[in-house]
Symmetry: C2
Subunit: 467 residues, 2 copies
């Protein structure tokens, strides 16, 4: 490649002005002091382009391609693996002005939506129609639909509804060539040649910039009951979840597990009374819906009584108010509490076939303690689909050889067991070594070749997956 | 490309013998007299390779690549668009000895299975565990899992469970290079880089030969009730389906609609008594499951009585025996009855957003009658996901200009409405002109480039999609 002029952020912003009437450019001054979101490197480019239309995004991308300027697609800046980090000389391409809900098809339970709408805003717009999204996750207030597409987000409901890939019917994107790729089908049955929008789903910005999608929806089930249960292990937690899934009058809405160290430290920090819990137990949070709030509570209490002995429950509380339910959920969703004690604690997001979880956690514990005294992990996650979040109870970042040992400890056996080293956060920058070690080499080569095909100059999210 | 030696079927079979101990070769003599399945061209190659392992398939493919011999992947020969047709000098690569069910994970509700297992055989193996597949279709006795992956099959349950793409967790395939692509995850949450197995799902044999998959399963719901209802239009049928979907004690298992001409001619052929049906009505077949057979029937009868007036039903029967239920289903599933009167009748498989179905069928009727007197269509299909099967009440094949007029009549407006010109049958050879006319040109180019990347010599299923 010949050498290209490089732009400083101060040169770049004026060069982008006027490319398209629906394109707003923010330069270093406008971005100064903005919160960078989950990754301190997110705004380092110092220049952000905010298209308000697909055509404006295409104009920006075409210019960047012609001028060899790298583009970093961004959504709600809630990514956890550095997939949106940037460098000076690059342009941030933000979806935040692509924020229109284009059409709600109430009878069909589908919605056409621009990529920059947050999950929470979409849910709020759907609620008056009795509808909601089939995917839900803790960062709903900031995560955008486009970002969720790009990381193939999973969240709380994946055990029943699958992940974003299973909810997206149609998709429009601007490719690195500047061309608009349009496949806005709103039907579930399509067998009309290769389904190339799948490259954009979970593509982490490597193959283009998602501008709009058609998503499946489902009816809101508003009558809920929540319980917090002491469990000995994942097998017992899964038994409870399975029983609730099959209950004729209930629908299981969440099954979230927290292992003992997470429970102990988080409850202590929050002043959460665990005197009812048999010491050293893990916690299982279950949420169900029913025909009425009373029915949900009654059926849940009965179902838990029925399964109590077989599941060897170590105590339990059914929330008596929505406030109490919220406090149960906070134990699970305020999961970053450990960063106060352990800044930059190395964290992981794996999935394992659920029946192998207990053995996996036992082996993990052993492998970490073999690294050195006191090496322990906080473990919690979406038990019914086998997705565990894991954080080392130690400050980060780790030195290279220690980092490698910890990663080996976390990832050992996952590929052979049919799990994944990244369940729902993506690869980004942070999981580069895991990708290189735990993805089939044939697939890695092919991913790189497809990247070269779509983005021969690698202007889209350079340095990120595929490597 | 330099000229390559071409093989006759009689030369080719001996040349393939001995490539791998787990590879069986059938030559022209062995194939003579075999039923070609749904397409008379399926066995024209005259040579079939039957690997019993992934490695044997890889050996065959590597040889074919080295010798510039085309490979036509085949499953149960039940494809309806000529996706498996072949020519002399090509090799049929059949999955029918890849017929092992490798592991049933009962608690996780997943199965690892080789590609050549038929849907019916898989369902039979799962039944003792109380499990079944989340996809079901009429050709279950011959359709293989690998073929269903390759066409992204949909069937009866897609309105709730989605299509094959939504059921496949893991996949292994041999690429045109002869390399083995392995991604046998058995978890639903994976965000570990580009998900390239999606190219093989719905890939119609263009990108490789699927050898094994991991599939999601669901619990069997064995207590069923079936009704046949007279309906004025799709809107009313969808109202009934929506009501049954929301019934707290029932689960909707099927909602299949047959338009009046289909009803009239098929009932007459079968001697099916329709004296209870208001003349000229369409028929809606619904199947539900409940806690017991009695509960299913009782709740279904009550629910139909409740919705009767609002849905303006034109008569109805609830099956009183499994025999009667089977006769109801035969009206829908023996859908090829019209080929007796109209050999090779041109047939189509489209999907439309359900709320647009009535207008679509009205417009279709008008467009066909504008072609000439008596041009009418049989219309029937999976109403809840908007998938219509359409057959012209005229013998085929049509001359080119008439064919173009009919295709225009069938496909007009589908793309702009967010539907698909091929819902679940694929593109194959037969839907080539529809693909060229109704797929985004940007996507067509990209599909061709990916094809060139994976299969530069185009040895895999040449002449089929992508064109």
């Amino acid at each position: 490649m010949s050498s290209h002029p490089t732009f400083s952020p101060h040169d770049l912003a004026p060069a982008l002005e006027g490319l398209h009437p629906e394109l707003r450019i923010l330069g270093p001054e406008a971005l100064a002091g903005r919160h960078p979101g989950e990754d301190p490197g997110n705004l380092k480019a110092g220049v952000m382009a905010q298209p308000a239309s697909t055509e404006a995004a295409a104009a920006l991308i075409s210019w960047c391609r012609a001028n060899h300027v790298a583009v970093v697609p961004q959504g709600g800046l809630s990514g956890l693996v550095g997939g949106g980090t940037s460098l000076a000389g690059q342009v941030l391409l933000s979806s935040n002005r692509l924020n229109r809900i284009l059409a709600i098809h109430v009878d069909e339970e589908t919605v056409e939506v621009e990529a920059g709408v947050t999950l929470e805003a979409l849910q709020a717009a759907l609620a008056p129609h009795g509808l909601t999204t089939g995917i839900d996750l803790g960062s709903r207030g900031s995560a955008t639909i486009g970002g969720m597409v790009s990381t193939n987000a999973g969240g709380i409901l994946a055990f029943r509804n699958g992940v974003m890939r299973h909810q997206i019917l149609g998709l429009e994107a601007v490719l690195p060539s500047g061309e608009i790729f349009s496949d806005m089908t709103r039907v579930v049955k399509v067998s009309a040649g290769p389904d190339l929008k799948q490259l954009l789903i979970g593509g982490e910005g490597a193959f283009g910039f998602v501008t709009r999608v058609v998503m499946k929806l489902e009816s809101i089930r508003q009558h809920r009951a929540v319980a917090l249960l002491g469990v000995a292990d994942a097998a017992r937690a899964l038994l409870v979840a399975a029983r609730l899934r099959r209950h004729p009058a209930l629908m299981l809405e969440a099954a979230e597990m927290m292992w003992p160290r997470y429970v102990r430290d988080h409850a202590a920090l929050k002043g959460f009374d665990l005197s009812w819990l048999e010491g050293g137990s893990a916690l299982l949070l279950v949420e169900v819906s029913g025909e009425s709030a009373e029915a949900a509570v009654t059926h849940l209490e009965e179902a838990l009584a029925d399964v109590w002995e077989e599941a060897d429950l170590k105590g339990g509380l059914v929330a008596q108010s929505s406030d109490q339910a919220r406090r149960f959920w906070d134990l699970r969703e305020d999961s970053g509490f450990y960063f106060a004690a352990f800044p930059d604690a190395p964290s992981f997001d794996v999935s394992m076939p659920p029946s192998l979880l207990d053995r996996y956690v036992a082996d993990l514990t052993e492998r970490l303690s073999a690294i050195g005294d006191g090496y322990e992990a906080y473990v919690y996650g979406h038990i019914a689909d086998g997705n565990l979040h894991i954080a080392l109870a130690a400050p980060g970042p780790l030195l290279a050889d220690l980092k490698a040992k910890v990663e080996d400890g976390v990832y050992a056996g996952i590929l052979a067991s049919g799990g994944s080293f990244s369940a729902e956060h993506g690869v980004g920058l942070d999981k580069r070594s895991a990708y290189l070690s735990h993805v089939d080499p044939v697939k890695q080569v092919l991913a790189r070749e497809i990247k070269n095909l779509l983005d021969p100059e690698r202007i889209f999210n350079p340095g990120k997956v595929p490597f």
